[in-house]
Symmetry: C2
């Protein structure tokens, strides 16, 4: 929620002139994305998003992110499309930062999730996985099981301030996940951060997927697990089996699960909960109280993790 | 630089449905304006700005601000125009806040001020003053000379941390300004905050004036003085007489100064400097160091004030 790099009028005019998108008219910094600086860019040709990549993004990853969006858009996945400049490249420098222009995708994300949203999401997620299958680039998931011991170590000293005994509980769970983590499941491009605020709907229909800056190459079923956690629990923490059923059923119509994937869903869902728990825990402990950022409760994800530990079989997710 | 009130999808759709501007497609919080929450709103009908008025704005002032913009737009002043809802009103409630939709004015403000910008500004400022002459509403300037003793008192205790002796210097200057402040000069609607970031240009031509939330009823020449301070000093603090000459000459072609106004320009410019010095001084002392706000140096305005104390006559502003 910040504009880290201010782009002046002359820099903006010169930058936009490198593209075939008309003349720059306006750029409004938008309070979205804590990693990068984003402007809503108006030109005589239309509306775009101008992103300046700040220090938290590894510049080596940018060709993956931009190439992926371009590939997915060609496969009709509704996502922002990088715009190529006259020189044919999508990535340039602006105010000392790597910068890119993507098409503006109008949309609103749902605050009150309904089962119909979950069905739409399941379908779109499967379509994303299918569309990404022939994307040639690889980016390993640097926030998956191998990273969790290290992530936990950064917060462990103060984790018990959040809840007594949390550090030991998390340490034991990370070790269990390392032992139980599946291998040999189908792998491909996953979004890895498909929370409701990254999914646009209009009149109940899914119209867009945004924010591909955690996208990577990992198990498809892990992406499904992330969505189960993000979409199928109620604000009071209870699991809504109807939402999970709608999500999974819609997904499997497009991309059927293997039996191994189905069997791995509980441990993948625990792992998906652990991944967000650990980054939230760190932010919870170390973000200054007066920073203009809403801190997210890490314990929400501890509760979800514990739900998945008790799951007996696919029936608990609404499947038969 | 913040979104204080988050507007959900359902609230947004319902709010926009009260207007004849098409269906809501998207609202992006923009990192602009420290007083209010602003969204860039996209509908099937076009692009707008949706503003939610936060606690720092007095709701009683809103009819003045919105009515003024409507009046000025009718007089062809290039400014955002409030959009009336189907019920005929421009002001409604959204998420517990007074809220309004205005037209989106595309534009970029100049980072490097050239004399030509100052000429454009002078013309537009005079046109604004002329256009506002028959606006019926009155709003007194609550940041003018009567307010300065009180403003200074809020910071006086710690002013010497900024510069040794500053509290005493400011106190003496405020008293001098109270004694010398002119009366009986022509009065009307003034913008009162026409800094470069509130003035849009395209290809060297002024295309828009924004941010009327300090607009009030006060001396026209005081508005000119505010602009002299904001536009005619170089980054190194020196006064650029060419810029002042261009600004004043262009202004006087549209709305001639009286001799009294001309004579009062030095004291008005000192006062205009004092007004921004005092609010900046308070923010400088009391804004937390890690707030995501760029603090502005109050001493920049002390230097400007001292320039105007040495002015001998209109020639020092480039006039003959």
């Amino acid at each position: 929620m910040a504009v880290y790099t201010e782009v002046g009028d002359e820099d903006l005019v010169a930058f936009v002139a490198r593209y075939d998108i008309g003349e720059a008219l306006s750029a409004k910094g938008i309070a979205e994305g804590v990693e990068n600086t984003n402007y809503m860019l108006t030109t005589t040709g239309g509306t775009y998003i101008l992103t300046l990549y700040e220090r938290r993004v590894n510049p080596d990853d940018l060709p993956f992110f931009l190439g992926l969006k371009e590939h997915l858009a060609e496969m009709s996945v509704p996502c922002p499309v990088p715009v190529r400049a006259r020189d044919g490249a999508v990535l340039h420098q602006l105010c000392g930062r790597p910068a890119a222009i993507v098409t503006f995708l109008a949309g609103m994300w749902p605050r009150r999730i309904q089962p119909d949203h979950c069905a739409e999401l399941g379908r779109a997620l499967a379509e994303l996985h299918v569309a990404g299958a022939d994307f040639a680039q690889i980016r390993s998931n640097d926030l998956s099981v191998e990273a969790w011991q290290g992530l936990l170590a950064r917060s462990a000293e103060r984790a018990d301030e959040v809840q007594a005994g949390l550090a030991a509980d998390l340490s034991a769970e990370v070790k269990a996940l390392e032992r139980e983590w599946p291998a040999d499941l189908p792998v491909g491009v996953i979004h890895a951060d498909l929370f409701p605020d990254n999914v646009f709907f209009r009149d109940g229909r899914l119209t867009g997927l945004i924010d591909f800056y955690f996208a990577c190459t990992d198990m498809f079923a892990y992406d499904v697990a992330i969505c189960i956690n993000a979409w199928c629990f109620e604000p009071d923490g209870s699991f809504n089996v109807t939402k999970a059923k709608r999500l999974l059923t819609a997904y499997r119509r497009i991309r059927p699960f293997s039996n191994d994937e189905l069997a791995a869903l509980p441990v993948l869902s625990r792992g998906a909960a652990m991944r967000f728990l650990l980054t939230r825990l760190y932010d919870w402990i170390y973000t200054p109280a007066d920073a203009l950022v809403t801190k997210k409760d890490p314990l929400e994800y501890w509760q979800k993790l514990r739900f998945h530990r008790k799951v007996q079989g696919p029936g608990d997710y609404g499947l038969t």
